[in-house]
Amino acid sequence: MSLTITQALYDQLRAHGEETYPNECCGIMLGTADEQNLTVSHLLRAGNTRTDSAHNRYHIAPQELIAAQREGRKLGLDIVGFYHSHPDHPAQWSPTDFAEAHWFGCAYVITSVDGDKTTGTAQITNSFLLTGTTEEDKAFATQALEIA
């Protein structure tokens, strides 16, 4: 299953990571899903509630998720994934990302942002699909990221 996103939205989520550098950014992706593909049509920026360790942790308030779900219902869209940045860290899922991933069938997009602790530039963006159906059999699978 691949993830399709427009160039404009792709640029937006990468720019978000640069804006929040040296802290992590995070956001919610609304779109549609079928057997073959997740398609992103809206991005919703979220606040990172982990102000105690924002350089290497993120958490989206449940209220923001509920608001996103409501917005999706209005637009006929679903939450199809999430994005966040890894400042000065590879664009690969971490043990923390895996432990706290519970949205099966959704995409987790990670952008590495490298910088000098003051300003950063987005580097690599990868997407990982959370497969499985339970905490016991879940896994991250690298998925193709298609820029439409």
Partner: protein, 100 residues
Amino acid sequence: MQIHIPTPLRAFTDKQATVSVEAATVTDALTALTTAFPAMQQHLFTPEGKLRSFVNVYLNDEDVRYLPAGEATATTANDELTIIPSIAGGSAFCCPCCCL
């Protein structure tokens, strides 16, 4: 009342995004949901019957965990219950003592 089901759990509600139940309390609503869709039980509750730590349940805009009566809070037909798994992570290494 209506229960809104998040994307990852719709596989266990016959793909329904919203399920209607008759319930006098939050507990009743969740019981009605898991009775209608038994596979939801393991996704919402631990084997001991407690809500899983990463599962948030909101009654309208209130986190049920922080309501004075918790899951025993009374509900009406116009209320909405939203089930929303948490979303978090980051590049930090995470140990079981702080993440699970």
